[in-house]
């Protein structure tokens, strides 16, 4: 093994690795703490979106239930339903429901009789009076069986809706039920408006094919891993970010960070459960997190720059000191020999 030529080289061999080691530890610790701060921020943002999604879904259910409750308590509605007068019910409710549809995304208004027989669809009175829904609309069946109002999410002939059902009763007792169903789009648009996340609702394609027969067939690209995208604030963005691995059978809300085509995305997945609590689909909300990524990279650059400065200064001080105190002195003492 070749011996080190000069005492100066020996000093460098000791000092430089030591300062580099200390600076590396310092930079690493700084980067780790920054990473923790940014991860915390991302997680909080994703959690906020998940909370907003849940709360908004609940409030839309309440709104649907409130609308249904208001309609079933209108005396004119009770009277016409009791008198088995469909035309009169259409005259009373259709004008206001058309406004509800155009302004507030209300997709369905439907009267049923027990156990779950369609009596009247407000938006399309000609469609299916007398149709038995009991094989796929358990929410209606239970409402009419247990005589209690219900609210929740369920797939109907017109697809996925946020629904509220209430009972129509008059002085002579129970007549039937009335249901209001509103679009998921309201929830998704609210999320986009409040947080900037693009969101989409995906539902089990097999159930949709079986039940939602009044809907036109979907585009093939809107079916991912057996789930059909029924609503989206921006399908272009979702298409690029939604991958089959997001569609799991877990009943929990999940948050995830993904890098897609070099860009960082924050993703929130929330299962859509029907009123019985069974998973029938998933809401996915995504947002580009490049701003966080840039801030983190800036923090790394700062940490490395300060570490190098540390190396430069510390190594300089030590090298000068050792060189003056020992190396030069030794050279001086060795010269006379």
């Amino acid at each position: 093994m070749k011996k080190l030529a000069t005492p100066y080289q020996k000093v460098l061999l000791i000092v430089l690795p030591a300062t580099l080691f200390m600076a590396t530890i310092s930079a690493y610790s700084s980067i780790i703490s920054h990473q923790a701060v940014f991860d915390g921020c991302k997680q909080r943002e994703l959690n906020s979106v998940a909370t907003l999604l849940q709360n908004d879904l609940q409030s839309q259910m309440n709104r649907a239930a409130a609308s249904a409750s208001m309609i079933v308590n209108l005396p004119s509605v009770k009277k016409a339903f009791r008198a088995n007068n469909r035309e009169q019910l259409v005259d009373i409710l259709q004008p206001s429901f058309l406004i509800q549809r155009d302004r507030y995304n209300v997709l369905e208004g439907q009267f049923h009789t027990a156990p779950a027989i369609t009596y009247l669809r407000i938006y399309s009175p000609q469609d299916g009076p007398g149709e038995d829904l009991s094989s796929f609309r358990e929410m209606v069946v239970n409402t009419n069986k247990e005589h209690e109002p219900r609210k929740g999410v369920e797939i109907g002939r017109r697809g996925l809706s946020i629904r509220g059902i209430d009972l129509v009763k008059d002085a002579n007792g129970y007549i039937g039920s009335f249901e209001v169903g509103s679009s998921f789009m309201t929830v998704l648009e609210n999320i986009k408006k409040n947080t900037g996340f693009e969101a989409g609702a995906f539902v089990d394609d097999a159930i949709m094919n079986k039940v939602a027969i009044l809907l036109p067939p979907p585009d093939a690209e809107r079916i991912v891993a057996g789930f059909r995208n029924v609503e989206a604030t921006n399908w272009k963005v979702l298409k690029a970010t939604v991958t089959p691995d997001l569609f799991t059978s877990d009943a929990d809300i999940k948050t995830d960070l993904k890098t897609i085509n070099g860009a960082d995305y924050g993703i929130v997945t929330m299962p859509i459960q029907d009123y019985k609590g069974e998973n029938i689909g998933i809401i996915i909300a995504v947002q580009n997190f490049d701003a966080y990524h840039n801030q983190m990279t800036a923090a790394v650059v700062r940490a490395i720059a300060f570490a190098l400065l540390q190396v430069l200064v510390m190594a300089g001080v030590v090298i000068v000191t050792i060189s003056v105190m020992f190396v030069r002195r030794n050279e001086m003492t060795e010269l006379p020999k």
Partner: protein, 348 residues
């Protein structure tokens, strides 16, 4: 005679006014606010001027709304879509309601348009426009900046409770940047939309939609022209001070020349990049350069002046060792500082 003329004038004015209001009135059977779908497709961007805060572009602006009174029977008309181009479109627009949206930040130089009316009463109004657009550039991160070239689509007549500017999936699909959009020194990335509103002089709020064309500057050429002169200004005096055995007055001579060169460089930068904010990378470089010059002048008259340092330390090796260290530490520190600032600026 005069009175009769006046009555005739008033009557004709009123009848015109009523007629006009009848055909152009906001659709009554439509829910308020009426949703106006907005899409913008940018065909080309020909010029970006960050000195005057403008850009020139050709774009297709598509507006769509539903007016049930215009719905027609497909079987009777023999088509599911009525098409009106150019002059026909102008005439048709005079007879139907439209949201009267304008490009609030544009000087329009040329326009073609067409109107389509679908059987369900959906009106699609397409305009191909060429114009110069005002857009405030954010140059803090120059030359690593990303600019949002803004196109302000605004309502001047209808308020936020009467119309709403929105984007459905169809509008999103119709929006974008053409494949031919290319700009020297820039990369066109995407187009984004932001809903907004503006307060009118009467305190009412009017809806707006901002289409932002996102472009990023290609930094390489700018960096080259900024950094090379800077390092050249610093190079000769640094060599003269650190690596040559010369007298103090000669070293000071190098540095006074360097100071003048930096001042000249600062003027050149200011003239070339007049609109840059005070904290832009160029100003940071000038500050770093000035500080470096001050440090080097101080070192030249102190540490590098053997007449001064002789009596400083009892150990005669200290000053030479410090000088040896500074010979590599100072250039590394300068380059490191400049590179760090550039990297941090690029990450703003």
């Amino acid at each position: 005679m005069m009175r009769q003329f006046l009555v005739f004038f008033i009557l004709s004015f009123l009848s015109n006014g009523v007629l006009c209001a009848d055909v152009r009135r906001i659709p009554e059977n439509a829910p308020r606010p009426i949703s106006i779908g907005v899409s913008v497709f940018v065909t080309s961007i020909s010029k970006i001027n960050d000195q005057t805060n403008t850009f020139e572009a050709i774009l297709d602006l598509q507006l769509s709304w539903k007016d049930s009174s215009l719905a027609f029977d497909v079987h009777k008309m023999g088509t599911n879509r009525l098409i009106f181009n150019h002059d026909e479109a102008t005439k048709k627009l005079e007879t139907i309601w439209s949201p009267k949206l304008i490009l609030a930040n544009a000087t329009v130089q040329g326009m073609e348009h067409g109107v389509f009316i679908n059987a369900d009463g959906t009106v699609v109004f397409i305009q191909r426009m060429k114009g110069i657009f005002d857009s405030k550039y954010q140059l803090d991160a120059f030359p690593f900046d990303t600019q949002n070239l803004k196109i302000r689509i605004a309502s001047e007549e209808y308020k936020t409770n009467q119309i709403i500017l929105s984007q459905g999936q169809r509008d999103i699909n119709n929006s974008g940047l053409g494949q031919d959009v290319s700009l020297s020194g820039w990369n066109a990335k995407k187009i984004t939309f932001v809903r907004s509103f503006k307060r009118g002089w009467d305190g009412q709020y009017f809806p707006e939609m901002h289409a932002n064309i996102v472009i990023t500057r290609q930094p390489a050429t700018h960096l080259f022209t900024i950094l090379i002169p800077f390092f050249l200004v610093m190079l000769i005096p640094t060599i003269g001070t650190l690596y040559m055995n010369t007298e103090v007055d000669k070293r000071l001579g190098y540095w006074s020349s360097s100071i003048l060169a930096l001042v000249a460089l600062s003027f050149t930068y200011s003239a070339r990049y007049a609109t840059l904010p005070p904290d832009a990378i160029i100003m940071q470089l000038i500050v770093i350069g000035s500080a470096y010059q001050i440090v080097m002048i101080l070192l030249s008259v102190t540490l590098f002046n053997s007449q001064n340092t002789d009596g400083w330390f009892s150990n005669k090796f200290i000053v030479p060792e410090i000088i040896n260290y500074l010979r590599f530490a100072i250039p590394i520190a300068l380059v490191g500082l400049v590179v760090t600032r550039i990297l941090l600026t690029s990450l703003i």
